[in-house]
């Protein structure tokens, strides 16, 4: 509490309403966007399209964003989530192409993603490089390595008749009518939420993100926790890489980077849901949902494709501005 706390009477009802508007700005934005598209386009509200939003737009972004939430939660950022996706994807496709069982190839893919994470962990926890710079370096090296591995960036295709059943199942199968990719995303989301809310590890990570000094002085091995966090980020991103590959049965070099900026956006938009502006899995998932709905809805409108990018950017900007202005006034009060 600072000395400038105004007397209660001066806060007044309008300000309370304004505060609430901002506090639940993300949810309001979701509702507003959903309603706007339902009215503006005849096809938005059809079950087929809603399923398409979840399966095509939301699934991969949500998984990558959850990975990003761990990195941001620990007070850092991971610019190499796309690289981890790509490495996982490359290992997966290459081994399947070489005739290995899908399970073995998938495990190798996860290992490749974890390897990218371990490389970051070494730089960040071992040497003390800031996460932004460490993962930026990883992103650059990863880009070169992928081009070297693929003769300068040629995609690796699986022949249409050579796609194993288990591979197809991962990308296009259903479990009791539920698409497998979506099911995987839900498992990742729930697991991450449990880790954050119910485990000591999750609490320690968030404390490192908020007050690294306090954590260090309370005798917790912060570097080890950060290292595990970044390996986990690589591992979760690898899951997204496997699903992406299984969906398109192709590895395209550096395709994972397409998710990077949206994942950062979703994570930080998600922080608006927390009264103290902290990363949280629920907020991240809603952030990813908002971006997915906007991407899908804008596609259905008659709007010029290029205006869609302007629209998305402006919307993100507005949500962020709303949230940060609120945080500033909350901090000042």
């Amino acid at each position: 509490m600072s000395l400038q706390t105004p007397p209660l009477a001066s806060i007044g009802l309008p300000r309370l309403i304004a505060g609430g508007l901002v506090r639940y700005g993300l949810i309001l934005a979701l509702v507003a966007v959903f309603a706007a598209f339902s009215v503006a386009t005849p096809t938005f509200l059809t079950p087929a399209n809603l399923q398409s939003i979840l399966v095509n737009n939301f699934t991969l972004l949500a998984i990558v964003s959850v990975a990003m939430t761990f990195a941001v939660g620990s007070g850092g950022i991971d610019l190499s989530v796309g690289t981890a996706m790509d490495f996982a994807s490359f290992a997966f496709v290459s081994l399947v192409l070489a005739g290995q069982p899908v399970a073995v190839a998938a495990l190798a893919g996860l290992a490749a993603g974890a390897f990218v994470g371990a490389f970051n962990a070494l730089l960040i926890s071992g040497i003390g490089v800031s996460p932004f710079l460490a993962t930026l370096g990883t992103l650059f090296i990863g880009r070169s390595v992928q081009q070297l591995l693929t003769n300068g960036g040629n995609p690796v295709y699986l022949p249409p008749n050579g796609v194993p059943e288990a591979f197809r199942f991962l990308g296009h199968g259903t479990i009791a009518g539920f698409p497998v990719p979506l099911a995987a995303a839900i498992v990742v989301i729930v697991a991450a939420a449990v880790v954050f809310a119910r485990t000591r590890f999750g609490r320690v990570i968030l404390s490192i993100g908020i007050q690294p000094g306090v954590v260090r002085y309370s005798g917790i091995a912060a570097p080890a926790h950060v290292a595990v966090t970044f390996i986990l980020v690589g591992l979760i991103a690898a899951i997204a890489g496997l699903i992406l590959t299984a969906t398109v049965t192709t590895y395209i070099p550096s395709s994972g980077n397409a998710f990077l900026l949206n994942a950062i956006g979703a994570t930080f938009i998600g922080t608006t849901l927390s009264p103290l502006g902290r990363p949280n899995v629920g907020g991240t998932v809603l952030g990813a949902l908002l971006l997915s709905i906007v991407a899908n809805g804008l596609l259905l409108t008659d709007l010029n494709f290029y205006w869609q990018q302007v629209g998305t950017g402006t919307l993100i900007f507005a949500v962020l501005a709303l949230s940060f202005i609120n945080r500033k006034t909350a901090g000042a009060a």
Partner: protein, 339 residues
């Protein structure tokens, strides 16, 4: 106001650790090490590729580095005023997109029949406008620079697509031809533009009270506030300056490529790396304009040398990544040693 700030004698001086020769030597080694490494790269290339050290080729590298150099210098101003923490401090991710939109504005205006003067003014205004949006978002709305400029980047890149329809807009005017020409020695005019731009910004940022204040705002915001510096205005000014650099880079790119092209966003990460790498060329390992110029030239010479030696250009981004990790790791380890 001079750069030699005298600290008031305090009771804490007794508790200060004695100077560490080992740390100083290591710091010096790193500082000169980066210059030595630069020289070594030049020597290796000049031995293996005879054409490498010719005046024409050096001019070429300077000219080719002009666009990324101007952008990286703009980013450096934001890095200086925003502080060293890249996530919460100074960064401008919208710079590359800014260059793309500015170039598109220039090309569209010339296609509509406007003269060079109008086009130049409008282009720089476009850059300044984008910088102002960033400034308002960061300084007055309080959005973290990384996020604010990320959102602006998306909007700007979208506007460029709207304006150009994702196609190449050719442009050719007397001014652009003059800019893309070479002098009698075969040195591109763009090389002189880069050196001139660097000289002007260096003069302002490194040698005026204004520049010193920018450093103060970035490195010691609390002290700067206590000293009564207009923190917000300085930081906002840095973002506007960075936006203007984007506009200038847009003009250069229209002249270099004879029109506006798509895919300006590809420039973003190399420019960020160039600006961040620049700090190894400074005495105290802080971002400086001349350091950024050296770093831009280092990358330029690397790419050029690879081309002359027929080494795959795919290695360039890998080398950049390794460079940044080595430099940052070494810096971090040194700082830890000194602490």
């Amino acid at each position: 106001m001079s750069a030699e700030v005298e600290f008031a004698p305090s009771g804490f001086s007794a508790a200060e650790p004695p100077p560490r020769p080992a740390g100083n030597i290591a710091a010096a080694a790193l500082r000169f090490g980066s210059l030595i490494a630069f020289a070594a790269i030049l020597i290796i290339f000049s031995l293996t590729a005879p054409y490498f050290l010719s005046i024409g080729n050096i001019g070429n590298v300077l000219g080719q580095s002009a666009i990324s150099g101007v952008l990286a210098i703009g980013l450096t101003i934001v890095l200086i005023a925003g502080g060293s923490n890249v996530v919460t401090g100074g960064i401008d991710l919208s710079l590359a997109a800014n260059m793309g939109l500015s170039a598109a504005v220039y090309a569209s205006l010339t296609q509509l029949g406007y003269g060079d003067a109008t086009a130049i003014a409008a282009t720089i205004l476009t850059g300044a406008l984008i910088g102002s949006v960033n400034a308002i978002a960061v300084v007055y709305a309080g959005i973290v620079p990384l996020l604010a400029t990320l959102a602006v980047m998306n909007v700007v890149a979208g506007l460029e697509l709207v304006l150009t329809g994702n196609t190449v807009l050719p442009a050719s005017t007397p001014f652009l031809s003059a800019l893309s020409a070479s002098d009698p020695f075969g040195i591109p005019v763009l090389a002189y533009v880069l050196l001139g731009f660097t000289a002007i910004t260096t003069a302002i940022v490194q040698y005026t009270p204004l520049g010193l204040r920018l450093y103060a705002v970035g490195e010691f915001p609390d002290a700067a506030r206590a000293a009564g510096l207009p923190l917000r205005r300085l930081l906002a000014g840095a973002f506007v300056a960075s936006g203007v650099s984007g506009g200038i880079a847009g003009i250069l790119s229209v002249s270099y490529l004879s029109g506006s092209t798509t895919g300006a966003g590809e420039m973003l990460l190399p420019v960020v790396v160039t600006a961040l790498l620049g700090s190894v060329f400074s005495r105290r390992l802080v971002p400086t304009i001349t350091g950024t110029l050296l770093s831009a030239l280092l990358v330029g010479f690397l790419v050029n040398g690879f081309q002359l030696l027929n080494i795959s250009s795919t290695l360039v981004s890998g080398v950049q990544g390794v460079l940044i990790l080595i430099v940052v790791s070494a810096t971090t380890l040194l700082r830890r040693q000194e602490a």
